[in-house]
């Protein structure tokens, strides 16, 4: 009989985290890396909310998640701005090409 | 070349795109606007080089509606060619008939009887109104207002009814022909026309309220696609496009032909914003001015028509034209003030019934050639606004 509890949520979050990690490390498209980061953050958020619900019983986890969501949005905005600049300079979005230290 | 020379004073491309849009460089792309596109008035094809929404360059490609009108003109007699002129600018068949007939009459030295002159003026001015109504409606649609289009067509329907009663056709008339008109006016025409003029004149103010002075419409068209007077002259613009740039030039007045010197009428021109009734955003030569000149011209046409009805003489409506009209050797070039500008015909005769050459100077053709100059550094949404305000009919551009 399947049940739902903290463990199930944590396993799911671990899976999301691993996927995000893989995307972050292997994708060469800069936006793809950003997507990986979002996956990892989501996994963390899911963990926090699950803990807050099943273990702590307060809403502290939700508050932390709220901050994460806000910061993720901010991070995405800055990242996209950087990528646009990167693309303008190098005419590609491949992160492996950006190994020159030039202004 | 002196510094005050008009051609060195031609202004830089009048981009109206906001500074932010111009500075943000992304990727250039080539987009085809047309030949199948809702706002190209037929089969105009514009190659747009764009950077996001910013137009860097617009290159017109024409010829999709080329029907060898001039080649046909070399193979048929002038009387046979008159129906062909209907199909040049298919919105202003009467004016085209008129222009070609005048050219041939000048070449052959034919005299048109008095009543014929008046019939011609009535038909030309009615057709001018009908064509401007289409232009008004289509321009509204280019800017995104759909409703004026139907209003314009509703009024045009009355005029087409009058034409139908006169010559049986609603679009390609073949009515004004060499020597006068091919038929007399039908019974009751004068009363019906008088009724129509009374009905139509207040409608123009209604349209101005609906569209011309609409805040969004002004924002979309004022100071967009500004053509200076010098540019307009250099690029050979004529008609409302030239007058929109502030040049008070109208062949009906400046080089009078037909009997236009018998009528009183004003020549509307583009006026800078802030003057009586003109919105402050308006600049002489912008899209709004060109559009508004057409609205005012409709009023002037109504004025001419009223005077025509008063002066209309009886008698013959067509001169005696020999069955086989021989065109004497020599050439003649004659321009009339068509609806979209000066419509010119060069007819070269060689003592045969068939001319050696018929060259047509289509006003739309000449007006369209300024598009690459004006559609630079403007936004994508401005392209329909500019091309629409120049108001081309592809049948005449491609001939």
């Amino acid at each position: 009989m399947l049940t739902v509890g903290l463990t199930q949520y944590l396993v799911l979050a671990a899976f999301l985290f691993c996927c995000g990690l893989f995307v972050m490390t292997t994708k060469r498209n800069a936006v793809g890396i950003l997507i990986g980061v979002e996956l990892v953050l989501n996994a963390a958020c899911l963990n926090l909310v699950a803990f807050s619900r099943y273990r702590v019983g307060t809403i502290d986890g939700q508050i932390a998640t709220l901050f994460i969501i806000v910061l993720a949005a901010a991070e995405a905005a800055v990242a996209i701005a950087i990528f646009v600049n990167y693309y303008r300079t190098l005419a590609t979005i491949d992160v492996d090409k950006g190994d020159e230290l030039r202004g | 070349m002196s510094d005050t020379d008009i051609h060195s004073q031609r202004e830089a491309p009048p981009g109206t795109a906001p500074a932010a849009a111009r500075e943000l460089r992304t990727e250039e792309m080539l987009v085809n606007m047309g030949p199948q596109h809702p706002s190209t008035h037929g089969v105009l094809r514009l190659m747009l080089r764009t950077d996001g929404e910013l137009i860097l360059e617009a290159i017109p490609h024409i010829g999709y509606l080329h029907r060898c009108a001039e080649k046909i003109g070399e193979n048929v007699t002038p009387v046979q060619f008159v129906p062909m002129t209907d199909r040049l600018d298919y919105l202003t068949g009467m004016n085209n008939n008129h222009g070609f007939s005048l050219a041939v009459e000048k070449l052959c030295g034919l005299e048109v009887p008095e009543r014929g002159h008046y019939i011609r003026v009535i038909m030309c001015e009615l057709n001018r109104i009908a064509s401007h109504l289409v232009s008004f409606g289509c321009y509204g649609m280019d800017i995104g207002a759909f409703t004026p289009f139907l209003y314009g067509f509703r009024e045009r329907e009355y005029i087409l009814d009058l034409f139908e009663a006169t010559c049986g056709a609603r679009l390609t008339y073949n009515y004004l022909t060499i020597g006068g008109a091919s038929l007399d006016l039908p019974e009751g025409f004068v009363e019906r026309l008088a009724w129509f003029l009374d009905y139509f004149e207040p409608k123009i103010d209604e349209y101005n309220n609906l569209l011309s002075f609409n805040y969004i419409f002004i924002k979309r068209t004022a100071n967009v696609g500004v053509i200076s007077a010098a540019d307009a002259l250099a690029y050979g613009l004529t008609g409302p496009c030239l007058r929109g740039s502030g040049v008070k030039w109208d062949l009906r007045r400046c080089v009078p032909y037909e009997i236009y010197d018998r009528f009183e009428f004003d020549i509307p021109v583009g006026v800078p914003g802030g003057n009586a009734g003109i919105p402050p955003e308006v600049v002489v030569g912008d899209s709004w001015s060109r559009y508004y000149v057409r609205m005012l011209e409709m009023k002037q046409s109504v004025r001419i028509l009223r005077q025509c009805l008063k002066q209309l003489a009886g008698g013959e409506f067509r001169a005696k034209v020999p069955r086989t009209l021989k065109l004497p050797a020599g050439e003649v070039y004659l321009e009339v003030e068509g609806v979209r500008g000066q419509l010119g015909f060069l007819v070269v005769g060689e003592n045969k019934p068939i001319p050696r050459r018929v060259k047509i100077r289509g006003p739309s053709f000449c007006n369209l050639c300024i598009v690459p100059h004006v559609c630079r550094q403007v936004l994508l949404a401005d392209v329909p606004a500019i091309v629409g305000s120049i108001d081309v009919v592809m049948g005449e551009v491609d001939r």
């Binding site: 799911l12 671990a14 996956l39 619900r53 099943y54 901050f67 | 460089r25």
Partner: protein, 166 residues
């Protein structure tokens, strides 16, 4: 099997499947759409965890804001339609091994961990409660976040502005 359990496994499958899609997809737009699946599923999981406010915020900010920004970024930065940047084989191989090992380790630890759950509490009015907490206990982080957002706004505007003419 209760509805909640069924819903959880469905949503978990959706989230995991979408995440896997992100890993597999080479087309960047498809990756973004897979991310949409994950974000949506996680938002619905928040509903299951009775974190309603968080769920809708996730939808508003993540799905409706961040993701659109990402897709927008993709459109601005891809020269050709459907440009594909495949991961290098060696990187992918090493990455797979490391990540699988990590996942196995994590699952092993998680399954063995002796959690002592407390009874799930139903927040009475979670929106009001979150508001109280934000402007009470977490006032300083809240203000810091707003300062950070302002800084980000300025920074993004500065970064995206056109290159200065030399």
């Amino acid at each position: 099997m209760s509805g909640e359990v069924l819903a959880f496994y469905l949503l978990a499958a959706l989230a995991a499947g979408s995440a896997l899609g992100c890993v597999i997809a080479t087309n960047i737009v498809r990756m973004a759409m897979c991310l949409l699946g994950t974000l949506g599923a996680v938002a619905l999981l928040y509903f299951l965890l009775s974190a309603n406010f968080l769920a809708v915020i996730q939808l508003v900010v993540y799905a409706g804001g961040t993701l659109i920004l990402i897709v927008f970024g993709i459109m601005v930065t891809s020269r050709t339609y459907g440009e594909k940047l495949k991961p290098r084989t060696s990187e992918a191989l090493i990455g797979t091994i490391v990540v699988l090992a990590l996942f196995a380790g994590l699952v092993a630890i998680l399954l063995r961990a002796p959690w002592t759950p407390v009874a799930p509490t139903e927040p009475s009015n979670s929106v009001a409660q979150i508001g109280q907490e934000l402007l009470g206990t977490y006032l300083v982080p809240f203000e810091l976040a707003s300062v950070l957002l302002l800084a980000v706004m300025i920074g993004a505007a500065y970064l995206a502005q056109p290159a200065k003419k030399e």
